[in-house]
Symmetry: C2
Subunit: 146 residues, 2 copies
DNA sequence: CCCAATTCCGAGTAACAATATCGGGATCGC
DNA sequence: GCGATCCCGATATTGTTACTCGGAATTGGG
């Protein structure tokens, strides 16, 4: 029912890369420190993201990762799919992997499909660029509670 | 990220009760047979649903369960919340249990909140009555694929 | 009044996933 | 060459999932 840390950390990490777009590679150590995550764990997330062509790696000292394409062309959904697999509210209503029997016999299946579609709509509509712009706007316009 | 069997089976079971609304109690054995579920496992789902006042039990022979209120007044969301806990796409964006630190510091938090709201919108808008009507409509109007 | 059907209750469990941690090898700028 | 970094695979711990099992309490029908 809930997103695991893979998806959450992955998007946070890529947001960090998007914030530093064009400024050369950023090391996992830097990302881990800035976002408060485990460096070794981030390695596990970086590998599939690199293989999926979302980020590129620069090895060696002063190396790190960069976005493989502009932040405006990477959606939150792209990242989640790589790290969590196909999106779906249930495993019988997962995009690209429909369960034909469930779809034709289960009277509730339509509900799960509708929820899945709404989830997809949101995560596919938000790019890393959007997150950066929102963060910059918030930074200039902070909310002071109480 | 995905609904567990608890929520899925629970809604299927309650759909079965809704289909037989007003026809006296239905036993778990009957539900299990009709929906192809484990009877013992359904017991575990029935207990919290009863305690939450969604279904009522009739003990003894010829006993079973009935909806505690009309099917038109029970939403899919009601059932899911009882069986899976508060709704949320992440544990930091779960309804009624906001993570204040995450909400104010995480640049991605707004995305999770938006997804959570969309999920809630769908599951709270569909009642058991809707499912029954849809099932009856489908039954009179079956889709023949191929 | 007895019996079978049923709800009710709590424990146990096997398999799997989540969330890391660890060690070491490959690569590269300085 | 050296230290920073990516890269890869193994391991560990913990929690969750999806059940299973055994038996007690309750009640309508014969």
């Amino acid at each position: 029912m809930k997103l695991s840390t893979k998806g959450k950390y992955g998007v946070k990490a890529l947001f960090e890369l998007a914030m530093n777009e064009g400024a050369g590679p950023i090391s996992l150590r830097t990302i881990a420190e800035r976002q408060g995550l485990s460096e070794h764990y981030l390695e596990q997330l970086a590998a599939p993201l690199r293989r999926a062509g979302i980020i590129t790696a620069v090895r060696g000292a002063q190396g790190g990762y960069m976005l493989a394409r502009p932040a405006s062309q990477i959606t939150v959904g792209d990242v989640i799919r790589v790290l969590e697999g196909p999106v779906g509210y249930t495993d019988c209503s997962t995009e690209g992997e429909p369960d034909p029997e469930c779809a034709s016999t289960c009277p509730v299946h339509g509900v799960w499909e509708r929820v899945t579609q709404e989830i997809i709509k949101v995560i596919d509509s938000i790019t890393l660029q959007d997150l950066v712009e929102q963060a910059l706007a918030d930074r200039g316009n902070p909310m002071y509670h109480i």
